[in-house]
Subunit: 398 residues, 2 copies
């Protein structure tokens, strides 16, 4: 891959938020190109062997909820061979058992491709045992099963990835129509993570565009309404601490993102659709230097957050309507408002925005969303005993 070296960054405590990087080549060459020998280049080449080193240690978590099997198959096809796909399904078991169909398709596909994989149902007693045996009960509901929700599936995915010894974890949605876009996302993950000088790093993808049908033609929208609003208040939040107005944060709702495992285990998470925005809140709270950090080691080493713009448009199965957009805005802004370090001015502006959008009424507070503490508090060795790997795919941890 060939991409820009970011020239600009905002620093907030131990966090370095880099500006969005532009990609020049999806496939940037086999070995090191001597053209890059000079120290004065502003574009970097990340050769295949370097990407491969990351991808060997990278689990791709695919949260699934009743998406079409043919789309899921395309997503598997787009994931580079070295990565381990972990399918975390919350699909229905009845009247038709979608999960059984998913297991069968994934197994057949991976048998042909000779691809290693893991698959689990989010609501299975076995995945629940992983958290009960590991002593991390926050994720379990009154039935003792992992709660419903995408964030909850992501947490289960991170736990599984860590159990099998992966060093990085990335997230890809299951409803993408273009395997070539999925391929690019994973390459952005490995290229992004390979840039980090810190073991604590994150890569977030800014979509090139999202095609919409307008008057029987495709229109390639750049900014969705949710994204625009989330990023606006995120940047306002950041600028209240740095003292400089900024537009650097562009990926407040980036569903496609990847983390190094040590960072993934150190953050805390918020439920449902607020999970991506809340990652910024967690970074600012824990490593922003405003509150005492629970991880002095990370404060010393620093956290690097990369934002990279994909070259492929994001064309996925659109099934969600206007209500979903309002819900997304409410969730994203609520986690900012409820942050322990949210500046008063930002709280005031968010409250006004939520009232304007008729999401909260006067004198009402924004939604208080469920939060999950860092996964590093899970006892992984106790949890490991809970799982019979042979029942969850064809991958056996070393």
């Amino acid at each position: 891959m060939r991409l820009e070296i970011p020239t600009n960054a905002e620093r907030f405590g131990a966090n370095t938020f880099y500006q969005v990087q532009k990609i020049y080549e999806l496939e940037g060459g086999y070995g090191i190109d001597t053209e890059f020998d000079s120290p004065f280049h502003v574009i970097q080449q990340i050769p295949y062997d370097r990407l491969h080193e990351i991808e060997k240690d990278l689990a791709i978590i695919i949260p699934v909820k009743n998406e079409r099997l043919r789309l899921l198959e395309g997503v598997l096809c787009g994931i580079p061979h070295a990565c381990l796909p972990i399918v975390l399904s919350n699909s229905q078991n009845e009247p038709t058992d979608r999960f059984r169909m998913e297991c069968s398709m994934v197994d057949t596909f991976c048998r042909h491709a000779k691809k290693k994989y893991l698959i689990a149902h989010q609501r299975s007693p076995e995945v629940a045992r992983l958290f009960s045996d590991g002593g991390y009960l926050h994720l379990l509901d009154e039935d003792g099963l992992v709660r419903h929700g995408k964030a909850e599936g992501m947490l289960a995915g991170i736990a599984l990835a860590n159990l099998v010894g992966k060093k990085y974890v990335g997230f890809i949605d299951a409803d993408n129509y273009f395997p070539g876009a999925v391929f690019e996302y994973v390459r952005i993950f490995s290229a992004g993570l390979s840039q980090s000088k810190s073991p604590y790093s994150m890569v977030r993808i800014q979509w090139h565009s999202k095609p919409k049908i307008v008057d029987a033609e495709l229109f390639f929208a750049k900014w969705g309404r949710v994204t625009r609003i989330t990023n606006q208040y995120l940047n306002l939040f950041l600028s209240q601490y740095t003292g400089y107005e900024t537009e650097i944060l562009r990926t407040g709702n980036a569903g496609e993102h990847a983390l190094s495992m040590p960072l993934a285990l150190a953050l805390d998470y918020s439920t449902g659709f607020s999970v991506e925005t809340h990652q910024f809140v967690s970074l600012m709270e824990k490593f922003g230097g405003v509150l005492p950090s629970p991880f002095p080691e990370i404060m010393k080493t620093g956290v690097e957050i990369f934002q990279i713009e994909s070259r492929n448009p994001h064309l996925h199965e659109a099934t969600k309507g206007q209500d979903h957009i309002r819900e997304m805005i409410e969730y994203s802004l609520s986690v900012l408002w409820h942050s322990r370090i949210c500046p008063a001015l930002v709280q005031k502006d968010i409250a006004r925005e939520l009232r304007r959008l008729k999401i909260v009424r006067k004198n009402e507070s924004p939604l208080q969303l469920r939060r999950y503490p860092e996964l590093s508090t899970l006892n992984f060795s106790a949890a490991a005993a809970a799982l019979d790997w042979s029942r969850h795919g064809n991958y056996t941890p070393a």
Copy 2:
């Protein structure tokens, strides 16, 4: 890349037409996977180093005609670094000079990506001189310039690619919205060509699907009307010689295709939109064993034609209407009808089809299209002197 080994093929003289192959992984691993050690596998892995060997010798010709610059930029981004893109433009010079804008964008992009490229205008006196000095006058019009038309641009591209010493040549349209799909096409070219045991080989892409907007929703059509009709008569043509009905040919209009240079120089070509269908006619005429072959060496070695199904839908800028569809059908069927070896039954059926579609009237013959003889008759060493490479990009032939 990981893909099926074709289990079925039709042989016609020295030609082997393989059935469509399915892809399992766009990126099939860094080195050889020992899983494939057994000789009983039906899926093959083509590792990156093997693909890279082909891509170093592969020119990607991008015919351009007033397509949007941002789409062309995306196409360049999707082409693997080792390939040489050759942009063959027939864009307007006035009132705005689109070609100048293309040169400027391509140069800026490739300067950043450190990518080698060539660019030329199809109607430039310099490209014309290549053919006049080389003694191949068929391509020139009354003004002494290369004729208008996509096929004509493709021929100029093949000549340029051969002049700079490339061993393979592939074609990608400039109006593709998905760089990830472009990447897949090139990988299909290199994977396909790497399978051949003969120096005379061709790879043709069957699109996964072509998204259309139907009632404000996307519908992923598999077979366009032109494709369906062309393939029907192509298969009928073939089956009249083999004696077995067949559906093996699926890529009669494959704009995305690649050839080994020795085969590209040995075929003859038909003008305009008939060029892709006519490649089959040329293969059957020259190497089918029905007529004496002008290339006994190729008759002995054999020609291998691979068809591979892409995993990405083909989403391009749709600007062409109903008239274009009728023209495509007319062009494709006319070259079959006019073949010197077209069986009488096929001629009769095609004539009936063209009348049914109101493309030709009763007692009228289908269009006789201009044909260009094999490019191997061009004197390449005389032609080489005609070009000042420094004016056409940043690539200098060895």
